[in-house]
């Protein structure tokens, strides 16, 4: 599995990476992007199996990133955010996101929510 983590916080990208490893997922490679625009650039020349994206980011936010990515790829995208309001989650799903993980999360939460993508 190749995973792309899109988040403007390098600390949060490390936390997510650590959580994925603690959850015990078989990961071949983790790619990182600092905003939606960089995420699209990564996707334009690399293939990944799962994308985890933050919501609030400079240049291009998570929602715009999902909309733009969906024009070309169908890779599962899971939002990782404290913006857990139902309206926002529904908006993300309607725009093409596959799921949502609330921050803070535990390795168990990651296992439960992301397990199906590793099956």
């Amino acid at each position: 599995m190749r995973i792309l983590i899109v988040d403007d916080s390098s600390v949060m990208r490390k936390i997510v990476t650590r959580g994925l490893r603690q959850a015990g997922f078989a990961i071949d490679e983790i790619l990182e992007a600092g905003d939606g625009q960089q995420g699209l650039e990564v996707l334009s020349n690399q293939t990944v199996d799962l994308i985890l994206s933050d919501w609030n980011m400079p240049n291009m936010d998570g929602l715009t990133f999902v909309r733009e990515a969906r024009k070309t790829i169908q890779t599962p995208i899971v939002m990782v955010t404290t913006e857990g309001g139902e309206g926002k989650v529904n908006e993300a799903i309607a725009s093409g996101a596959n799921g949502h993980i609330k921050k803070p999360f535990t390795p168990d939460t990651l296992k439960d929510t992301l397990g199906k993508y590793f099956a």
Partner: protein
């Protein structure tokens, strides 16, 4: 809906925030965090060397703050990312404190059971003897935790 937080919601919010801080630090592998004392202040004044502040709006309006020493700030960030302190750059510390404030606010949202709470992007400051004030009309609860031999203060202004 916005505006001052009704008195009956202040206590549950502060409790949710406290529990969230303990949860976040515990799940992020900090072993010894203990609630030490709680005070009421008439202003929102954050004191420390490593501070994070975040505005809360929507269903409730307020401010959340975190403050500790540079040593503990660095130690906390090193533990949540799983890297040793000497591998961390100064900007990792501000980034980490800001994300820590965000995680604790996110946990508070989930635990408070009040829908429509929004968190603004947090800000963080690292330096010697920081004293930062955010003007507000609400009272601030200053909750002190013991973290190892050090202290960490949580500011709840609702």
């Amino acid at each position: 809906m916005s505006g001052p937080v009704p008195p009956e919601q202040q206590e549950p919010l502060a409790e949710a925030l406290k529990t969230s801080l303990l949860d976040v630090l515990e799940t992020m592998a900090w072993s010894a965090v203990k609630l030490s004392r709680e005070e009421q202040h008439s202003n929102f004044m954050v004191r420390g060397e490593a501070c994070g502040v975040m505005r809360v709006h929507g269903a409730v309006t307020g401010l959340i703050g975190l403050a500790t020493s540079q040593y503990t700030g660095k130690e906390l960030v090193s533990r949540i990312v799983g890297l040793s302190t000497d591998m961390l750059q100064p900007e990792d510390i501000t980034d980490g404190l800001a994300e820590l404030a965000n995680l604790i606010g996110g946990g508070m949202k989930a635990k408070a059971g009040i829908s429509g709470i929004h968190l603004d992007p947090p800000m963080a400051m690292v330096g010697q003897g920081i004293l930062a004030e955010w003007k507000t009309e609400a009272m601030t609860r200053v909750i002190t935790f013991e973290v190892g031999r050090d202290q960490l203060r949580l500011y709840a202004n609702f």
